[in-house]
Amino acid sequence: MENVMELPKRSHILGAGFEVPRTVVRNDDLSSVLSTSDEWIIQRSGIRERHYVDDGNGSSALAERAARQAIAAAGLTPADIDLLICATLSSDIDFPGNSSFIQQRLGLGGILAFDVRNQCSSFLYMLSVADQYVRTGGARHVLVIGSEVHSTGIEYADRSRHVTVLFGDGAGAVVVGPSPDDNRGLLTINLHSEGAHAQKLCLLGPASLSKPRLALDWTPDDISGWPQMDGRFVFRHAVTRMGECIEEALAAIGAGKDDIRMLLPHQANLRINQLVAMGLGISDDRMANNIERYGNTTAATIPILLAETLAAGRIHDNDLVCLSAFGSGFTWGAALLRW
C-alpha cells in the first residue's frame, strides 16, 4: 500500500483522555419530572448520576477537550495526528459529521477526518479501523474519539423514562499509533452485527426510509423522534453476545479467562456487566465500571473508562486488558490488548 519501508507489526493505544460537562443530574433530579425513583434506577442499571451539557457547544466541544488530553497523554501534539476518526449518535448538526467540527477545533485541517456510526460499539469499530491504518502505513497517529450529548436527544416524558434515565453526556478519546513493542498493543479484535434486531434499540427518525424524512407538521408527540428500546431483549442479548465475543477473542490468541487482568466493558448497564463478568469468572477487582457516575455515554464509554482506569493506576505493564461492547444494531465486539 503506502511506500513505508517498515510497517509496525502492532498498533497500541498511546494515550487516553476524557471530558464530562460540569452539570451533574442525579436520579432524584429526573424523578421530579418522570415517574421514576432513585431506587428503581439504581436497582436496574446501577446509575446514580450523569452529566449534562450546560451550553450550546455540542458534542464536538467535549470531544476537543478529551482529545487534547489524549494527545498530551501520548506525549504528542495535535500536529502529530494524521487521521481523525470520530463517532457519535448526537452530532453537533445533522451533517457534516462531528469529525469536521472536531478537526476545525483542533486545527487539523487537511488531514482525512471521517465519522463512524456504530452506536455503542463505535469505539471498538474505530479502534479496529485505526489499527488497519497504522499497520498498513496509512497513518501513524490516529485520533479516535467518541463523544455524545444525549441530554438534548432524549425525551423527558414517562413513555420514554426507561431510556431517558440511562443516558449521559461525555467524551473519551485515545491516540492509536505503532506499538513500541511487538509483544504489546492490540492483540486481537472482533466485530459483529445482527440487523435483524435493529428495531429493538433504535431511533427511527428523522431518517431516509421515509419520504420526506420529516414532515413539516412533525411534532415531538411522534415517538419516532425519540430513542426506543426493548430493555429486556437488549439485556439478554448483551449478556450472551459480550460473553461470546470475549471468549472468541481469548481463543484467537490462545489465552484463557484467567489471563484477563482488567475488563473494561461498555457502560450500558451495571447488571449486564456483572453477569458478563460472572460468566467469565472475573472478580470485581479485575473489572472497572463508572456507569454509576456517568450513565451510558454510548460511543464515549470505553475511552472514558480507560482514561479513568489508567489514571487510577489500575492497569500495569503487560496486563491483558479486555474491551467489549454491545449495543444498537445490534452491534458488538471485543478486543484484547497487552498493555
Partner: protein, 335 residues
C-alpha cells in the same frame, strides 16, 4: 504484497423518473430554474419506504450472483451513506440482515460526498492486513428524501437524485487493482454544504423541558433541510480536486490515467474540472444521472464499465468533492 482488488461494482437505480417539469410543479419552482441545475440529467427517485439499504441490497444480490458467491462469503460490511434509513442504527447492519450474512461486523461510515472513497480505503486496509478476506462496500444515498421540496435550497433539490452501488474488495491471486486513494477534509468550511437539524448543539437553556435537538420551530422553519453554497463548492472542487488527483497519481505510481470519472453536485463544475485536470485525465466521463452524493462515483464506474466507456485493463481515476468539506481521488485498474 498488494493483491487487494475491487472485484466487481454493481449499481442499483430507483425506478421512478421525475422530470424537471414534474419537480417544478412539486416544489413550486419555475421549470427553467430546475433546468438550470439539472442540465438535462435524469432524475431518479426512491419512493417512500425505500431507503438506501433497499437499493444497496438489490445491487449486492446481483453482484453476489454474478460472482457465484452468496452472503456467507462476505466477511465484513462497510456502508457509506449520508442519508441512513434510520437515525440509528446505521444502514450497515440493515444490509447485513437483508442479505442474510453471518453476524459479521457492519461498519457505518459518514464522509458525505467522499463516502465511497473512504469506505473503499478502509475496506482495502482490512483486506491488506488479512483481517478479512472479502469486504462488501456499499454507497447509497436517497437525497430526494432529505432535500427540501418547497422551493428552499433549489440547487440541491434540482441537482440531486437517488442511487446506490456496491463493490467487493478481496484478496486475490492477481496483482491488486486499487492503485492509490487519497481523501482530505477541511472542517473549517462545514457551512459550504450542511444540514443544521437535528442538532445536538441546539441549546435554549439547562431546564430539561428546553433540551431538544429538534425543536418544532426549527422544523416548521425548514432548518432540517440541507443548504449549499454552490460558489464555495465550485471553488473547493477546482482548487482541491486537481491536487488530490496528483496525489493519488503519485501514490499509484502513474503519470496519467486512461479515464477520469468526475462527480460533483454541479454539472458545470464537472465540466470545468475535466478541463482543469487536463491531459493526465485521458477521457473524462461524467454521469447522465443527477448527483447522488457518495453513491455517485461507484454508480458512474459501474455504468461506465457496462456501457464500454471504461475498458478492461484501463486505469481509471474517480474524483469528487463535497460536504465536510472533503475531496478525494481513487485510482483503479479495470479488470
Amino acid at each position: 504484497m498488494n493483491s487487494v482488488s475491487v472485484c466487481g461494482v454493481e449499481a442499483e437505480l430507483p425506478s421512478v423518473v421525475v422530470s424537471d417539469g414534474e419537480l417544478a410543479g412539486l416544489c413550486g419552482l419555475p421549470e427553467q430554474e430546475v433546468q438550470r441545475y439539472s442540465r438535462g440529467r435524469t432524475r431518479l427517485e426512491s419512493p417512500d419506504g425505500e431507503g438506501p439499504t433497499a437499493l444497496a441490497t438489490r445491487a449486492a444480490k446481483r453482484l453476489l450472483t454474478a460472482r457465484g458467491l452468496d452472503a456467507a462469503d462476505i466477511d465484513f460490511v462497510v456502508f457509506a451513506t449520508n442519508t441512513p434509513d434510520m437515525f440509528f442504527p446505521g444502514s450497515g447492519c440493515l444490509l447485513q440482515d437483508a442479505l442474510g450474512c453471518r453476524t459479521v461486523g457492519s461498519l457505518d461510515v459518514r464522509s458525505q460526498c467522499t463516502g465511497f472513497l473512504v469506505a473503499l480505503d478502509v475496506a482495502r486496509r482490512f483486506v491488506t492486513t488479512g483481517t478479512y478476506r472479502r469486504v462488501l462496500v456499499a454507497a447509497a444515498d436517497t437525497p430526494s428524501h432529505v432535500n427540501a421540496r418547497d422551493g428552499r435550497s433549489p440547487g440541491l433539490t434540482c441537482a440531486m437524485g437517488d442511487a446506490a452501488a456496491v463493490a467487493l474488495v478481496e484478496r486475490g491471486e492477481q496483482q491488486g487493482n486499487i492503485l492509490g486513494i487519497a481523501v482530505h477534509t477541511d472542517g473549517s468550511r462545514v457551512s459550504d454544504y450542511c444540514c443544521e437539524y437535528p442538532a445536538s448543539r441546539h441549546f435554549e437553556g439547562p431546564e430539561l423541558a428546553l433540551r431538544n435537538r429538534l425543536p418544532v420551530a426549527a422544523v416548521a422553519a425548514g432548518k432540517h433541510f440541507p443548504t449549499a453554497d454552490f460558489a464555495a463548492l465550485r471553488e473547493i472542487a477546482l482548487t482541491r480536486v486537481p491536487q488530490v488527483f496528483e496525489e493519488a497519481l503519485a501514490k499509484a505510481g502513474c503519470r496519467n490515467v486512461d479515464v477520469a470519472l468526475v462527480a460533483h453536485v454541479d454539472p458545470d463544475v464537472e465540466r470545468e474540472l475535466g478541463v482543469a485536470i487536463g491531459e493526465r485525465a485521458g477521457r473524462v466521463v461524467t454521469s447522465d444521472l443527477l448527483y447522488s452524493g457518495g453513491a455517485s462515483l461507484p454508480v458512474l464506474l459501474s455504468r461506465a464499465v457496462a456501457s464500454g466507456s471504461v475498458l478492461s485493463g484501463e486505469t481509471v481515476a474517480m474524483l469528487t468533492s463535497g460536504a465536510g468539506v472533503s475531496w478525494g481521488a481513487a485510482i483503479l485498474r479495470q479488470r
